[in-house]
């Protein structure tokens, strides 16, 4: 878990809902402060559910929902939670929202629910959620926390969907639109088995990180 310092928003009389600062909260995590590639949070599910694109999209929506609302609730409660037991309180709040997501998926899209299997439950221990609660929601007001949750969820989703698209295309030759009228094929080639395997996910994420860091000029000093 990276130790990202919390941005403390000073008190102001009246701030417009989407002030510059708040927009920054929403947009920054998508690229320059991405939870997966920069903050190194929430890697497990990013690798495990991305064999195909649809499950990745569903998973991202789930994480956005949980991140936003648990940030909101914890931020509302931040002055009443005793610091010693805060982890347990956070886990309970997060697990409530994850359970809601899980029940909704089970009711409406059962086949994707089966495909995601334990990884829906594992949103609870997804470090993005806990990391943002610790680093942001405990120190900030509800509305910025809510936006921070959405922003980080979106950043997570962006990577997830990118990996999902790449793995699906090279692994099985399919795209998001396979089986629909807008299906398209750029060129055909034998599918690459390694992309469908766990190993492929790691390598793709590694390469994405490389590309992103090369573009943003970010580098780690030591190993």
């Amino acid at each position: 878990m990276s130790t990202e310092t919390a941005v403390v928003i000073e008190k102001k009389e009246r701030e417009p809902l989407f002030s510059k600062k708040n927009r920054k909260l929403l947009v920054d995590p998508i690229d320059s402060d991405n939870p997966i590639t920069v903050q190194v949070l929430g890697i497990c599910s990013a690798l495990a559910v991305t064999v195909q694109t649809w499950p990745s999209i569903v998973m991202s929506i789930g994480v956005i929902f949980v991140a936003a609302f648990s940030n909101l609730i914890i931020s509302l409660l931040r002055n009443t939670i005793p610091p010693r037991i805060r982890i347990i309180v956070q886990l309970v709040v997060v697990s409530l929202f994850v359970q809601i997501v899980s029940e909704i998926l089970k009711a409406y899209i059962y086949d994707i629910y089966l495909e995601l299997s334990v990884f829906i439950g594992l949103i609870i221990t997804n470090c993005i959620i806990m990391g943002r609660l610790e680093a942001f929601a405990l120190a900030n007001k509800p509305w910025p926390s809510f936006l921070d949750g959405i922003g980080n969820g979106l950043g997570y989703g962006a990577i997830l969907i990118a990996v999902g698209l790449i793995r699906e295309y090279f692994g099985t030759g399919g795209t998001l639109f396979s089986g629909t009228p807008i299906e398209f094929t750029m060129f055909t080639f034998p599918s690459v088995g390694i992309m469908a395997m766990p190993a492929g996910a790691c390598i793709i994420v590694g390469l994405l990180i490389w590309a992103q860091r090369a573009r943003n000029g970010y580098a780690e000093e030591s190993n």
């Binding site: 890697i43 359970q99 221990t125």
Partner: protein
């Protein structure tokens, strides 16, 4: 007995927590900079998994499963509490970790000094909750199976993290393109190691 052994080997090598399911990756990447710290966290993971998987197994079989409460009264036979499963599991894990931390601090300060800092990290390590959820998914029929599963998954995790830390220690001295350094390369190495572990799939058990 035989199936317990094969379950153990399966969970260490084939269904490895890291290389097959990527559970506990966050702490995996964070502590694997030196072999010593990775060993510490690995042992803590084994300890917590060996105890929480059976505890959650008992909780699941005697409280949560459909019809599990029949031992209390026959009226409750139709009750299915699995919808609170996630909350119960995570509460069990978090309180167990907290209790262990306090107990270890009291009983053995030396152990606490070496293991203590890792214990709070464990409550949010996906491999622990993942162990409990896989336990439900795989329908283990006895407590012994659940215990063996927890223990050997922990060993698999330790094996993965120590191997990876040893590679990373060596990598310090290699000349890597700057943007690839650190995280990017770490991922590619995990990918290659996972690829290597796929060969265990060929073992017939």
């Amino acid at each position: 007995m035989e199936n317990l052994v094969s379950l153990g080997i399966r969970s260490i090598f084939i269904d490895n927590m890291i290389f097959a399911y990527f559970l506990g990756m966050c702490s995996y990447l964070a502590v694997s900079k030196t072999v010593k710290t990775s060993m510490g966290l690995g042992l803590a993971v084994i300890f917590v998994l060996t105890l929480t998987v059976p505890i959650n197994y008992l909780v699941y079989t005697y409280f949560l499963k459909e019809g599990a409460l029949t031992w209390l009264s026959a009226d409750l036979a139709g009750l299915d509490l699995t919808f609170i499963q996630l909350m119960v599991f995570i509460a069990v894990i978090a309180s167990f970790v907290q209790l262990t931390e306090m107990a270890v601090e009291k009983i053995s300060p030396a152990l606490y000094a070496s293991l203590g800092i890792f214990l709070p990290l464990i409550a949010v390590n996906c491999s622990i909750l993942g162990g409990a959820l896989f336990m439900v998914q795989r329908n283990f029929s006895t407590l012994a199976e659940a215990t063996v599963y927890g223990f050997s998954s922990g060993i698999g995790w330790l094996l993965a993290v120590v191997l990876f830390a040893a590679i990373r220690e060596r990598l310090k001295y290699s000349n890597v393109p700057k943007p690839l350094k650190g995280l990017g390369l770490a991922f590619i190495i995990v990918g290659l190691m996972s690829f290597a572990f796929q060969t265990f799939l060929g073992i017939a058990l």
